[in-house]
Symmetry: C2
Subunit: 768 residues, 2 copies
């Protein structure tokens, strides 16, 4: 196990500069506030290997699909969240030498991500080729309070010279996406301007026409005092800068405070962007760096109050879980129902910042328990608003009568992915979207959501499933052919147990919700029926017929559900007998070999058993777990959490902990050798689930929160805060037992180990 | 049905110039001689839509793979036969106006492909924007005698003016492939030169380093007399030309005869190319146009003697079958075992001029019966020489111990294709290569081939199959998972009946050949065993076990073989009930919908029944034909011929004829709306099979030629020549019965309708 970063309860710390680790550190030290995100690129010039990343949430570009062999039905574009104008840049010239850590002798290098207060700090000394030695400290953050703004305090101390120091803060919109399919640039310039202490660039995305104004305003201080600026503007295509030359004196600090903001035409009229930008810059610079930093700490304290997990006795685990929670909060704040959560959040370009079923299956449980319910509601509304496009998408694939297939990958609701076995066949995503509605209502009891939005989505999804199955004359059953399950190491299979189960459940739940909505609001139901031309009698009769006659592959001898019809025809080998030289399979084996092996990428039957655990007795879950887990290679970061939760449920605490360990430090320790591309944001929610649903055994059962906790042997205690229907609890599991403290809201009755416990306002209950 | 070209027994004729049909005509009028090929581009400038195509056999470029989502095991390159230097170009300037049919008023336009004598003739009148009217006649051909050379006679008659005529013959190597993945140019210039009546360009392909010298030499005639040339050389990057200005007189013809040649470093040392080129140009220009044209006619007469099919009573069918035979002869002459047959031959860029299983399954039967046996032997040797790479290829996919998987698409033996469901899974191609060996030996009795080459290939293929199956603990059978059969409208299926059948047959035939080779040459067998480390006892024991325990999907009720395990789970719909709006499926349906439908792209089970017809009784074949044919959409040009042959065998003459019609005029009538990309060369062999094996009922049975002919109702008669083991026969089927005439070679006993008939040298037998 590698441990490059230092262990600390609240910080991620890097000591010493290793250019080979720089891209990994850029990902891990990423900052964000839900509205904008920034990889930990250096402010000053850096000619070494780096992945520039500045992202503005929701601003995307439809990159023309690249494909070897076109298949009818492939989308023309892959929508990608763009690399936007670089707002952090500050060029430093020491007399005539550019500060560039790839060219200097660097010492005392230290980066520190302060997760408690939400900022990134960097210190180093650099000696130029000419022998000039300086000390630098920078602190920056993306403001949680002013979520269109970021601020940097950059301090330089000449250590062995007096001389000219040229400081050039800039905004550079001439950026590229490294993963652009055709090496195109995605931005055009609209306008730009400079003043003596700032400037702006307004850019427009090609094709989509989003406009983003990025601007800066800066203050210079010498020895802590603001000094007048004698500056020189620099402008070129998509770029502005203001050059300031100072006489620096040995041992005397020079500081630049750069206030920056990104405003998007999603939120303002394009023609007003610059005016609003100037207002924002004025407002935050009036506020000042120190005040902003203090507000940032307060905002983060509020976040942590809702969702901190405290682990005693294991600093490494403590650091890891906080890092996961920190990144999730940086990525999505739930303020805007046009936004969603890309698998890499704002930490890299991979997956294009687009939305996957990760959101519904993994992120929703996290936000439900740790944030206001409107956060999850906005995630649900995002899909609701894309229903029309999901219906359109299904139509392109030959479905009719308002059936919806949500895309595998999307930003604006249109499908972006172009591998037929995934785009067209990994349709279980549709079920996850229905499941998230169920999960939300189960958790919040917000049945009004079903009336206003949920049912419409559910019917469209149920319609899809009812058309997607076909009657097998051979089996006298409904079958679902040609699908890819969550285990993407099988493609185009028949009767994926998970997908068939989820499909039937969707139809069942839809009928249940129809009854609820009818009861709740007959008029709204009638309006919906009319709007979507729903023939309740006929359509639900079809659902019932399918539910009753669905084929579920099952092996009588092993008494396990079969992942798909042909699973047992495969050579049955266990992962423990698979030579390490073959791992990871997706890098070592050709695709056909993976496909015909029995090895499973991520939970598939087990994902279904996790979703619908109440329908199966514990022995059924155990048999399936014991059969599938030894065949699972967990080559998706989304896999171990489901296993951790099920292992915990089965009482296998050791393995539950083992699975937890596989995800918790995934990015900090760069387990998969891919953290340089960005962090695995959505799987971080899985880590949270491993602790809260796994070790904490938390569930919602018939409207009640329920806990079946245990304490991992290595820990002294762990505790987590959880919100439930307006009540905030702290649940602490220690060697002494379970303490539940009521922090906020109404009295609440919860189940602990199956027994009801009333927790009164401001009270603590202790169970040993 | 469209009929753009005029019907004629020996010619393809276009009357009138339709720019929208020009790319189609460019394909249909393509010329070739096995060594070089040329689309029917105009000699003079043409600013309208055109697909330039000049190809030199065997000269390819490894174009970097373009793929949307990389899968481990994909090849880095797709080898493509290149567009080579344009050798036909002759720019014409009429005073100051460039002759360009896209800009002139064109009348009297006529193109004529003379298939009997092997040349293309074009006539037209063109009136320039300035009102100058000229008449042009051009004749050109790729010489069958001097197979590195092509010659053009280009005659201009000014009809309404006296004035300057500038004639600029050129060689232009600055060409591109339209299907280049990254818009790269593939050639670098090595050198070039010009003289007063000619010049050359020597080019080198990037990466592969093939060098090709393309040169020209020309003669000018006025009123039929050679005139001295006062010329001006023009040179630029990869381009040379010689500009000649003449005073042309109204009504007086001016003719340029352009001799050109393409010499490749495959056949000469690179540094000698120019010298050899000059020799070739001198030799052919000494010979002169008329002599070359006469030799061309003689060479083609010899070809037709061996493989003409004469149809009486149906000029359209006559033209079509000759067009198919003509193109096959233009594409491959069998002189060079480094060459093979691309699906589009020399008529377009599509499929990169690479080798597919089409060669073994469809082209081999044609060349076996219509050409010297060395032609097929060279096709077999091509694969033999690539055995090492096929073993390498299998190794990349995880196979071992000398197992070979021949590539799906290749030029030099490395795999070029990059769709996992095809590259890795359409492995039946390996069986077709074994089958071609069997077919060759069955036809020629050349058992020495087995000793020297065949067995080594067969064992490598048998080894592959024996590793590719796995034991199903569930079925207690060997199964073959994750394959794509000939029906590419199903992917990643389990137990494709065709593939399983072919695999078992390969192992069986390999064991049979082992015994033959042991008997024929014990020493060579021992040497082979040693060379390839063949453990006969152990490996053949494995083959036997697999053969005995192979799973063949079969439906007891329908008594048909199942195309794959899950075929009957599909909704069973017949093509006749499929709305025309859905056709062709591959343009109208998304890929998943095609995959889960029961519709079949091309013969699959039926392909197997065709290959192994002697193993199945006629009722089995009929049941399967009656089940599968109504589900087949024939969206591969390779499909109808197999159906025609089987329908004929089943006595269904009407349908046999119907299937024949689907292929015969495929390109001439542009059925599939894709002839602009090139002609379907390999499927042309299928058309020939439909006539000879279908209507003629020709087979080889236990070393004897056998015929079960019938006469399609619309025809007066049809006859074909067939070579068999050194004897040339003409078989004529007419309303009066069957006539077999002995044309060449030894006496031969054949079977006609199951009865032995001795045909003596120079005799004719008549059976009514």
């Amino acid at each position: 196990m590698k441990q490059y970063f230092k262990v600390d309860e609240w910080k991620i710390i890097e000591e010493g500069f290793d250019p080979h680790h720089h891209k990994i550190a850029e990902s891990v030290f990423s900052l964000g506030n839900g509205r904008m995100g920034q990889r930990a690129n250096f402010e000053e010039a850096y000619s070494g290997e780096t992945l520039q990343g500045n992202y503005v949430a929701g601003v995307y570009y439809p990159d023309k699909t690249r494909v070897g062999w076109w298949k009818n039905g492939y989308p023309e574009y892959f929508a990608k969240v763009l690399n936007a104008a670089n707002w952090i840049g500050i060029d430093i010239l020491i007399e005539n030498e550019q500060l560039d850590l790839a060219k200097c002798e660097v010492s005392g290098f230290r980066r520190e991500l302060n997760m408690k207060e939400g900022y990134l700090k960097r210190n180093f000394r650099a000696k130029t080729e000419g022998g000039k030695l300086i000390e630098v400290e920078t602190i920056r953050f993306c403001s949680m309070v002013d979520d269109e703004a970021g601020t940097i305090q950059y301090t330089i101390i000449p250590l062995n010279f007096n001389g000219a120091l040229t400081i050039t803060p800039f905004i550079d919109g001439d950026v590229v996406n490294e993963d652009a399919n055709y090496n195109e640039k995605f931005w055009d310039e609209v306008k730009k301007g400079t003043g003596k202490d700032g400037g702006y660039v307004q850019l427009r995305t090609k094709k989509t026409g989003f406009e983003v104004a990025t601007g800066m305003k800066f203050t210079l201080l010498q020895e802590g005092k603001v000094i007048p600026v004698s500056s020189q503007p620099v402008e070129r295509e998509k770029y502005i800068a203001v050059k300031v030359v100072l006489e620096a004196a040995q041992g005397k600090p020079v500081t630049i405070i750069k206030y920056a903001a990104n405003l998007s035409s999603q939120n303002y009229k394009a023609e007003e962007l610059i005016e609003k930008l100037q207002e924002t810059l004025q407002r935050i610079s009036d506020k000042g760096f120190e005040t902003m930093l203090a507000e940032q700490a307060t905002a983060w304290a509020k976040k942590w109050e809702n969702n901190d997990i405290i682990i005693e006795g294991d600093v490494s685990a403590q650091q890891a879980i906080r890092f996961n929670i920190f990144q999730l909060n940086q990525t999505y704040t739930g303020e805007d129902d046009r936004l969603n959560i890309g698998p890499k959040g704002f930490t890299g370009e991979k997956y294009g910042g687009s939305t996957y079923w990760d959101t519904e299956a993994y992120c929703v449980p996290f936000y439900l328990s740790t944030a206001d319910q409107k956060v999850t509601r906005n995630l649900l509304l995002y899909r609701y608003k894309q229903l029309g496009k999901a219906i359109e998408n299904a139509k392109l694939l030959g479905f009719k009568d308002g059936a919806a297939l949500y895309p595998m990958v999307t930003i604006d609701g249109t499908e972006c992915h172009n591998e037929w076995e995934i785009t067209f066949e990994e349709i279980h995503r549709n079920g996850a979207i229905a499941y998230a509605i169920f999960n939300y209502v189960r958790y919040t009891d917000d049945e009004a959501y079903l009336v206003d939005y949920g049912l419409e989505v559910l019917i469209a999804i149920a319609r899809f499933w009812s058309q997607r199955v076909n009657w097998s004359g051979e089996r006298k059953k409904y079958v679902m052919l040609g699908v890819t399950g969550p285990n993407e190491y099988e493609n185009n299979i028949n009767n994926n147990w998970y997908t068939n189960t989820l499909a039937a459940w969707c139809m069942e739940y839809t009928m249940e919700v129809i009854e609820k909505v009818k009861l709740a609001d007959q008029a709204k139901y009638a309006a919906l029926v009319n709007k979507i031309q729903f023939n309740e009698e006929q359509e639900t009769a079809k659902y019932k017929d399918i539910i009753q006659n669905m084929h579920y592959p099952y092996d009588e001898q092993l008494q396990v559900f079969l992942q798909q019809d042909g699973y047992l025809d495969k050579e049955q080998v266990l992962v423990k007998d698979l030579p390490m030289a073959y791992r990871p399979l997706n890098q070592k084996w050709s695709w056909d070999r993976i496909l015909r092996s029995c090895f499973i990428k991520q939970a598939d039957v087990l994902q279904g058993l996790y979703f619908f655990e109440d329908r199966y007795d514990i022995e059924t879950i155990r048999r399936n777990f014991d059969f599938y887990e030894p065949r699972t290679v967990h080559e998706s970061s989304l896999s171990p959490c489901v296993h951790a939760i099920l292992a915990a449920k089965l009482g296998d605490e050791a393995r539950a902990y083992e699975f937890y360990l596989r995800t918790a430090r995934l990015d900090i320790d760069n387990y998969n050798n891919d953290t340089q591309d960005g962090c695995h944001i959505t799987s971080m929610a899985g880590t949270w689930m491993s602790v809260v649903q796994g070790f904490g055994g938390m569930r919602v059962r018939e409207g009640q929160l329920s806990f079946h906790p245990f304490l991992p042997g290595k820990w002294q205690s762990f505790s987590f805060n959880v919100s439930f229907r307006g009540t905030l609890l702290n649940v602490k599991i220690s060697k002494n037992g379970v303490n539940i403290e009521h922090l906020l809201g109404k009295d609440l009755t919860v189940l602990v180990y199956g027994k009801e416990q009333l927790i009164k306002s401001n009270a603590i209950i202790s169970l040993s």
